[in-house]
Amino acid sequence: MDEKAYKAKRASEVTQLGSTQTQYKYEYDPTLLETFENVHPQMDYWVTLNADEFTSLCPKTNQPDFGTLIINYIPNIKMVESKSLKLYLFSFMNSGEFHEDVVNKIGKDLVKLMEPKYLEVIGLFYPRGNISIHPAFSYSNGDEKYNEIEKYRFLNRNLNPQRIG
């Protein structure tokens, strides 16, 4: 594919990137997510997306929660477009979510969207009542290699916990 065709294909795949009429939604909406095609599916490579401004509400008290989300994945055919991810994450702003639930919900939405080889979502939430919660979601597509990665990362998470800050 020549450069011009490649750029045209990329541009046709996503609608929100570059839009000057961006609509922000503040209630959970997974339909905001968009993908583009991975043109290197034969390669295994990591993509890390850091979202430092994640916020949602406590489902019981409606008090705001804040945290950093770290999304690591090995793409297959589809990759999540980052502006759509930003809008999707903003859509949690007025949604009531427990930390443990929301990390799993985001992980499942991204798995459904991209069908990646491997994906993990880690939430580093701000402390509430002196306790910070750091849930982690992981998924493998079932191939032996990615199952091994999932198992290794699951078994080795937080072996050396540290207090940071």
């Binding site: 609509q23 922000y24 401004e53 804040f66 007025n94 402390p127 940071i164 800050g165």
Partner: protein
Amino acid sequence: MQLQKVDIVKNTKLQYLSHELLFLAKSGQPYRGSIYVNFMSLGETFNLLDFKKYITSLRDKKLNAEDIAYEIFLTITKSIETQNLGIVVDLTARGGIQQRISYGNEFNVVHKENIFQVR
């Protein structure tokens, strides 16, 4: 919003900070940042629960980023008497540009991280 007064010792130096500021740009895009409030007491401060509720109330308020420090300054001065009140707001980058907005008396902010929060 009115913040409830709390009587404290006069001439106490106070600095409050929060990394949990969120309000909306005119476009609707959320702004995130930290706020720092600094003043010398004239015998009173505000109830911290009220202040938390006030900060939370900004989540659905649309403002120019440059006006956020004044908005907070005004709310405090409407609620309590202070000496040398200053507000600093540090916003996270948008389009690669970071903003620090201040209103009132100048002061040096004390940077403190949230315990256990990885940054």
